[in-house]
């Protein structure tokens, strides 16, 4: 026998109260003067024996009543007998992790688990409290047709981001809120929905359950709609949550029923202290013996985050054989954008418990700024498809339309001031295509040309330009384009300072001091990656002719010479940018064109200036079920407050959610995604939270690649007998090996009886007996 509210056992001390009162009362018999005692018996015992007997009976009855009362309050719970009531509080933890989609006798493990859970719910009595938790959170809507159940669900989610969900047909007629905390808004929308409409309710995940009760109908509905999640299961979190729920219950039969494939990877780590003292009924669902190896794509990596349009890069796929047997031959198919022919690579036999890296080529051909790629692994013996797909993306850099102006009239060919620039911007190899579609013109032709088709103008060695041309170039930059200026040996500070759109003043020309590029601003987008790839090569960018620059107030120094003077200065003109170099781009003025770092730097500068103000949109890859804040480039967030929405990949049903924006850290909080694939983050500057609408077509769509969690790949299971090694010693573990019948689980539902009503009844009866004896005694005394 145990006690459910053992704290009340301290109340047993109250049993001493009648004893104390009895003793005090006995000491305080009133004294009565009387003529003689000769007619009484001479011993106290004889004179008071009946009263003492009655007193003792009353004392015993009172003690017994208090004892029964305290025991009743302490809620005795016995595991045997027929007396008492069966009241169970049960939390069913259903493993809906991807590993549960494996098959056994033609049915998935999850279907079998659902069947067992259904049986358990069906055999619960109306007094039993029950809740259903899933190990993998899901944001799939839960559908309701009954308005009362729908309102109950909304009430249960009060205060949490909650959204309504209608079928496509119904949503065409009725607009409903997406995720919102505004209960009034939900109520208003709910009132407009015609009766009988199937309405879905959705939140971030199912861990919202804060209490549990007797609504078994809701659980049946929840069970009927439940499906395997794409997110990895977190059985520990679910069990901890279940234990927390059970602590809310005062019932005697409190247990967690875990129906799971007991995937080992979900149990590793710290022991679940939250399960201390909890009764856990483990129902392992075992798959049929595997006929093949379990292969999984561990990762797909590409050497660069961004590639030039047309570039062919080589990616590496890591394939792991998680099983204890060698795999069969398979195939890896890499899709790289619509319209591109997928690459197919043969996957050789992979030994047991080992991995293999396979290289695959990807040609960057995309009209979008990101090339969305998906690698698919197929093997005839691999029956677990969860981890056979990997999504990744490559940023696409299109050639920048660049007009290089040769400032020295008459200098052509290698003597042209723009020669080395055009050369640097051109195609280097098949794996390093042209950074810019560059055209060289002289100043006369430049004066005649319209600049609308160009993105960047490079002025190389220009000595002088007239006022109209200055205005033309300034307007070109102000329209959001870029201007890169390399002064020549014959350029003068006076002339350049008169242009008006340069980011720095030229103070003096130094022709005898030998300086080299000592430092670059790595935080500047214009030179990002230069140090990474050029390394110490930037120091080889030396010159004996350079101008001493004095940056304007709003200008930014991108690089400095060894004497501390600026080498590159960036400034803004309208929507565009102008970058001024302190030296020339011809070998007659400096050694720069001769150095590989010059090529890298020039290509970066031109790409930066030609990016039309748009920064790189590559966001870090993510894992299914992972929720985190993602830093958004400052330029993208310039329109804040903004409405960020996460949409699933094209081809699937789109889901949009307003995402919180962290103003201080300039980051957007991305919710956990329930499926792998490519998602799109869209921004609507200035929008406010409210009724959801789909993003406008012209909204920037930033792709995010979401992949499966490698945690779910290893399917090794814990033998149920070893499960105790992963639990605190005080956890009462019971395990059932279920095959095709789930009768044992029914027996596990109720394992004891709560005697508190009976004990309190006994207390009342004893109190009644005490009153009766006291009344009879008083009546006799009065007579």
């Amino acid at each position: 026998m145990s006690f459910l509210s053992a704290a009340f056992l301290y109340g047993l001390a109250a049993v001493s109260i009648p004893v104390v009162i009895h003793l005090i009362h006995r000491q305080r018999y009133p004294e009565r003067a009387f003529t003689t005692l000769q007619f009484f018996d001479k011993t106290v015992k004889n004179n008071t024996i009946q009263r003492r007997l009655i007193d003792k009976v009353l004392l015993c009855l009172r003690m017994l009543a208090l004892l029964a009362l305290m025991l009743g309050l302490a809620r005795p719970f016995v595991s045997h007998g027929t007396l008492g009531e069966e009241r169970a509080s049960i939390v069913i933890v259903l493993d809906n992790s991807p590993s549960m989609q494996r098959l056994r006798d033609g049915k998935t493990l999850f279907e079998r688990a659902k069947s067992i859970a259904q049986t358990a719910v069906d055999h619960l009595g109306p007094a039993d409290r029950v809740e259903l938790l899933f190990t993998a959170p899901t944001d799939d809507p839960t559908y309701f047709t009954d308005a009362a159940q729908l309102r109950n669900e909304l009430n249960a989610r009060a205060g949490e981001p909650t959204g309504l969900w209608l079928s496509e047909k119904a949503s065409a007629k009725q607009s409903v809120p997406g995720l919102t905390r505004d209960a009034a808004q939900l109520e208003t929308a709910l009132n407009k929905i015609p009766a009988g409409t199937k309405v879905g309710v959705r939140g971030y995940d199912s861990s919202r359950v804060q209490d549990f009760g007797y609504d078994q109908t809701r659980l049946r509905s929840l069970l009927a709609q439940a499906d395997v999640a794409a997110q990895p299961g977190d059985v520990k979190r679910a069990l901890a949550h279940a234990a927390k729920l059970l602590r809310l219950s005062q019932d005697g039969d409190k247990k967690i029923i875990l129906i799971s494939d007991l995937q080992k990877s979900e149990w590793e780590g710290d022991k679940l202290d939250e399960l201390a003292g909890v009764s856990l009924v483990a129902v392992p669902i075992e798959p049929q013996a595997s006929s093949g190896a379990n292969l999984g794509l561990e990762s797909c990596t590409v050497p660069v985050r961004e590639a030039d349009f047309g570039q062919t890069i080589t990616g590496v796929a890591t394939i792991r054989n998680y099983s204890a047997q060698a795999s069969d031959e398979g195939k890896l198919t890499v899709h790289s954008g619509e319209g591109n022919k997928p690459s197919e690579i043969k996957v050789p036999v992979i030994p047991a418990k080992s991995s293999l890296s396979l290289a695959f080529p990807i040609q960057v051909l995309s009209r979008e700024r990101s090339l969305l790629c998906t690698a698919e692994l197929s093997s005839p013996s691999d029956t677990y498809p969860y981890d056979d797909t990997w999504h990744f993306q490559i940023g696409v850099r299109f050639p920048v339309q660049t007009l290089c102006v040769n400032g020295e009239a008459g200098h052509t060919g290698a003597d042209s001031e723009a020669f080395y620039l055009v050369n640097a911007l051109g195609s280097r190899s098949s794996s390093n295509p042209a950074a810019a579609d560059a055209k060289e013109v002289d100043l006369t032709e430049f004066t005649k040309r319209r600049l609308t088709e160009w993105n960047v103008v490079v002025l190389a060695g220009v000595q002088t330009i007239d006022k109209d041309l200055r205005e033309k170039i300034r307007q070109f930059a102000a329209d959001g384009k870029g201007v890169l200026v390399f002064p020549g040996a014959n350029s003068t500070a006076e002339e350049y300072n008169a242009w008006g759109f340069l980011p720095a003043q030229l103070l003096e020309k130094k022709t005898k001091d030998f300086v080299f590029l000592k430092s670059i601003d790595e935080r500047a987008t214009a030179l990002s990656g230069v140090r990474e790839h050029a390394g110490a090569g930037i120091h080889s960018l030396s010159t004996s002719l350079h101008f001493v620059l004095q940056p304007n107030a709003d200008a930014k120094v991108l690089a400095r010479f060894s004497d501390g003077t600026p080498a590159l200065v960036e400034g803004a003109v309208g929507k565009g940018r102008v970058i001024l170099a302190a030296t020339g781009a011809h070998i007659t003025e400096s050694d720069w064109p001769l150095r590989p770092a010059f090529v890298l730097m020039t290509r970066n500068l031109v790409r930066y200036l030609g990016a039309d103000g748009r920064p790189s949109t590559l966001l870090p890859d993510r894992v299914v079920g992972e929720g985190a804040a993602t830093i958004i480039p400052t330029e993208l967030a310039s329109g804040t407050p903004a409405l960020f929405r996460l949409a699933s990949a094209p081809g699937t049903k789109p889901q949009y959610e307003p995402l919180p924006w962290l103003q201080n850290s300039r980051a957007v909080v991305l919710p956990s995604t329930s499926r792998d694939g490519h998602y799109f983050l869209s921004m609507q500057p200035g929008a406010i939270e409210g009724m959801l609408t789909e993003p406008a077509l012209d909204t920037d769509m930033i792709p995010i690649s979401v992949n499966h969690s490698p945690r779910e790949s290893d399917l090794e299971a814990i033998p149920v007998d070893d499960l105790k090694n992963y639990l605190p010693p005080s956890t009462q573990l019971t395990s059932y090996r279920l095959t095709d019948n789930s009768a044992a689980i029914v027996e596990a539902l109720h394992t004891g009886r709560d005697l508190w009503r009976w004990t309190l009844l006994a207390a009342l009866l004893v109190l009644g007996a005490e009153s009766l004896v006291a009344w009879m005694s008083a009546t006799e005394a009065a007579a």
């Binding site: 009133p30 009565r32 009387f34 005692l37 007619f39 009484f40 004179n47 008071t48």
Partner: protein
């Protein structure tokens, strides 16, 4: 001058006792002529017998008619009618200082003694008063004057309960002390050894006294009406005993009843008038009934 004990002689009470007399059951000897029979011969109208004249006899008693017939001198003898000398013996022990009603037993006894004394003196008899506890505290020999009555009332008014009682010893002492046969009226709760009390009463009888016992008991002593368990403290000895009256009542009542019965029967055997009086009974009723009973017996 106001007499301390005059409260015990309630005019209203006396008014309710008209024409009541205490008649002596036995022959009583008195100094003065009264209306009670005396063992002596005297000058009453009741002729008893003749005896031969002896020298010294009063010639007025010679029956000359007998001399005329028999030529011998015979004297006529007549009954002597004497005054009653009643001694009221009042128990003044601590056990008498008890009463759950309006009057304590000692007060009730005082009322009773005073009324009896008044009645006796009023009928030209003599009344004396003895108060005692373990020994005699006051002894007022029988007298018939009103002054004497006042003295008796004074003693009653001053009467304080003594520490303990010893009825047999006092009775034996009185039996030896009171030489003249008369009436002994014992007013007491008789809470003492029954056999010894009866023996002492027989001592009175032996001395030819007419003995009347008024056994005074409170209702509480007879019924033990208490409900709560209590520590009962004996008034005279201060000894204590925890008793549950509720459970012991019946036994107690049986024992008291047996005690009274044994006293009654003992008195009956000794030709002592025993009369149990509850202090809840009106004194006038008690006395009326008793006087009537006494009168019937005397006839």
């Amino acid at each position: 001058m106001n007499i301390v004990g005059s409260r015990f002689l309630d005019p209203a009470l006396l008014a309710k006792l008209p024409n009541l007399e205490i008649a002596a059951k036995k022959l009583v000897k008195g100094t003065f002529v009264g209306y009670h029979k005396s063992p002596d011969f005297g000058y009453s109208v009741e002729f008893v017998d003749h005896r031969e004249y002896a020298a010294g006899d009063d010639l007025r008693t010679v029956d000359w008619r007998v001399w005329a017939r028999k030529d011998k001198y015979y004297v006529k003898r007549f009954e002597m009618e004497s005054q009653l000398k009643a001694t009221i013996v009042l128990d003044g022990s601590k056990s008498m200082d008890f009463g759950e009603g309006k009057l304590k037993k000692i007060e009730y006894g005082s009322y009773l003694a005073a009324t009896l004394a008044y009645t006796l003196i009023h009928q030209n008899d003599m009344a004396g008063l003895v108060t005692f506890d373990s020994k005699v505290r006051h002894y007022l020999p029988p007298r018939g004057s009103r002054q004497h009555l006042r003295m008796m009332l004074h003693i009653l008014g001053q009467l304080q309960p003594g520490p303990a009682t010893n009825i047999p010893a006092v009775c034996h002492h009185l039996a030896e002390t009171i030489k003249t046969r008369g009436m002994i009226i014992l007013i007491s709760d008789l809470l003492d050894d029954t056999d010894k009390i009866l023996t002492a009463l027989q001592h009175f009888q032996h001395k030819k006294h007419d003995v009347i016992v008024f056994h005074l008991l409170d209702d509480a002593e007879l019924n033990l009406p208490y409900a709560e368990l209590a520590n009962f403290r004996e008034l005279e000895t201060s000894s204590r005993l925890a008793v549950d009256p509720a459970t012991f009542r019946a036994t107690y009542q049986d024992r008291v009843r047996a005690y009274c019965t044994s006293l009654r029967e003992g008195c009956l055997k000794s030709n002592v008038d025993y009369h149990l009086i509850r202090t809840s009974q009106p004194i006038e009723t008690v006395l009326s009934n008793y006087f009537a009973f006494r009168a019937r017996r005397t006839r």
